[in-house]
């Protein structure tokens, strides 16, 4: 998995490429958290469009960051063009907490 983090004002975008599974999560979690802790962000975007594989590990990754962001009234967005990835996220009711976008 490859993760590119870009900050634009108070928006942090995490662009994922490759496969996001349980093995890849700790690294992604650490890098995003380090960035969040180092700045002031009210918008966090998970861009999953470049993923070729995703399993339920992504739910815990997004949910954990949502908890962090909600303390500061921040918003979390997930962008995924893939219907199946969206299904996994919705299965866990993630759409009640974060905004899931198709594009």
């Amino acid at each position: 998995m490859q993760l590119n983090l870009t900050a634009d004002g108070t928006t942090l975008t995490a662009i994922f490429l490759g496969e996001l599974d349980h093995h890849a999560c700790p690294d992604a979690r650490e890098r995003i958290d380090m960035k969040l802790n180092g700045g002031i962000y009210n918008k966090l975007i998970f861009d999953f469009r470049g993923l070729t594989f995703m399993d339920s590990s992504a739910i815990a990754l997004v949910m954990g960051r949502y908890k962090y962001m909600s303390v500061l009234n921040g918003k979390v967005y997930v962008v995924t063009g893939d219907a199946k990835m969206k299904k996994i996220l919705v299965l866990a009711g993630l759409d009640r907490y974060v905004t899931i976008l198709d594009n």
Binding site: E19, D21, H22, H23, C25, R29, F53, M54, D55, S56, S57, I59, A60, M63, G64, K84, K87, I88, L91, A92
Partner: protein, 144 residues
């Protein structure tokens, strides 16, 4: 039902083997010419089962995970994922959505739900201190 083909792999419960497990199964199933969606469903379900062995079965210690794939006639695929780890006290409870004994940062409690959603049938056999066997079945669409 008649078995047409079968394979078995054993690998160490390292998280770096999660991708190996799902890719190996998908490579074996590929002989049936499944659709991209079917292959993706299988990979996701195998990934969940293998991750459960690593996180819960062996609790991040090293043990052997066995994966057996059987292809039956009429395009039925049966995948068994087996660990000889700590086992599950209450299988029914473990299978409830959002239930996890793991760290919330690591697991969402959705593993079994995802397996049930993407496969046709799933059966979990477990005994504390003995290990867990997850059997998943999927019937592939007719070959075109």
């Amino acid at each position: 039902m008649k078995i047409i083909n079968e394979m078995k792999i054993d690998f160490l419960s390292k998280s770096s083997n999660e991708s190996f497990g799902r890719v190996a199964v998908s490579a074996f199933v590929s002989q049936l010419d499944p659709t991209v969606a079917e292959l993706s469903d299988i990979k996701t379900a195998v990934s969940e089962a293998v991750t459960n062995c690593i996180v819960h079965g062996y609790e991040h210690t090293y043990g052997i995970i066995s994966v057996i794939v059987r292809i039956f006639e009429s395009r039925v695929v049966e995948i068994s994922v087996i660990d000889r780890g700590k086992g599950i006290e209450n299988v029914e409870k473990a299978m409830e959505p959002m239930f996890t004994t793991g760290n919330a940062e690591e697991r969402s409690g959705m593993g079994f739900t995802v397996m049930e959603t993407f496969m046709d049938k799933i059966k979990v056999i477990s005994k504390p201190a003995d290990g867990t066997k997850v059997i998943m079945i999927k019937k592939l669409c007719a070959d075109t």
